[in-house]
Symmetry: C2
Subunit: 204 residues, 2 copies
């Protein structure tokens, strides 16, 4: 069994546009619904990689809309090792925080790889993240309410930073070998799913 030509072309086009030099780290988003909404935004904006620090996270199906299947999700047990591995790969870490010296999605430097680290809804990023981050980022707020929903704030940051980074790298920048490997995994999964469906229909 094989994928239809049209489906394959669609997947190839999406992968060619994938941005791997902007990643998101979710440190401790306790509400599964919010974390899943953030995964969905990452995928919609064409990011490729999301790092989860809470080890046992399972996306909630409705909110993530299946976006987790189209992302490379990397699980970590703690903030320090996650940040270290990203720094080793050349990422600058910006923690989402209302810090005084916070950059905005408009001002943060996008001439290199950027990791956006989001903390928990109420308490924000951890002290470890605060100490290890290269800088801080927040969405400028101008109202009396002074708090955006965490999935809204992340989406505003991701959308803008990704668009600005795309302008620098000229579109997608996923390494060809990673692209091929991911494409193969996608195809295998889609074929397995189609075969499963065909088998179920055939047995009725």
């Amino acid at each position: 069994m094989s994928l239809t030509q049209r489906r394959r072309e669609r997947i190839e086009a999406v992968l060619a546009d994938r941005l791997s030099s902007v990643v998101v780290v979710l440190e401790a988003v306790h509400r599964r619904h919010n974390a899943s909404a953030i995964l969905r935004s990452c995928e919609c904006f064409g990011l490729h990689e999301v790092h989860l620090i809470s080890g046992d996270f399972k996306p909630s199906k409705g909110a993530a809309r299946g976006s987790e299947r189209w992302l490379e999700i990397v699980q970590h047990t703690d903030t320090a090792s996650c940040v270290a591995s990203l720094k080793e790969r050349g990422f600058s870490i910006f923690a989402a925080d209302l810090a005084e010296k916070a950059e905005t999605p408009d001002s943060v430097a996008v001439d290199g790889k950027v990791a956006i680290l989001m903390g928990a809804e109420l308490t924000g990023v951890s002290e470890t993240a605060r100490q290890l981050a290269d800088g801080f980022i927040c969405v400028p707020m101008r109202g009396m309410t002074e708090s955006l929903n965490v999935s809204v704030a992340s989406a505003c940051i991701i959308a803008r930073v990704a668009e600005r980074r795309r302008a620098v790298v000229g579109g997608g920048d996923l390494d060809p070998s990673r692209l091929q490997a991911f494409l193969q995994a996608w195809e295998d999964r889609e074929i397995t799913a189609a075969e499963g469906m065909a088998a179920r229909v055939g047995s009725q």
Copy 2:
């Protein structure tokens, strides 16, 4: 009884930064939670006016975070009259839609007043809105998932359009007489609330 000087200064500063030349129209956002989240985003990004076309909407308290108290909310019974009144005031209407010729939050013209019209979650903007709109706007999406949550999509549009418009008008642009009237109403409400609280404490 009067407001503390600090509170008053904070309210004055927020109002001085209010952007009245970008408004949001919610046509038929049926999930109260989503509509309330959009109100919250509007207030956080410093918009002043939101138009609601479903006549009987009441914000859900958690999601709106009280932001509805800091906005001028105008209720309408139908899309046509709402659009007509905004056009009469010089607004260009951009309907949020995945139309082929849709502008992006980066490309939409912000040299004049802009109204962003959001439709329902599943069916999008109404046919009436589609016909009456001056143009369409959507958030560029690059993934397989191809759908953003409506409150996330609106926030991404509002944040960017408002920031770009602010750069044109040089900050806030609320008419001084409206600003004074709104400030007075705010103050009256805060004093009434404080007096109510004082009376409750006094009677214990």
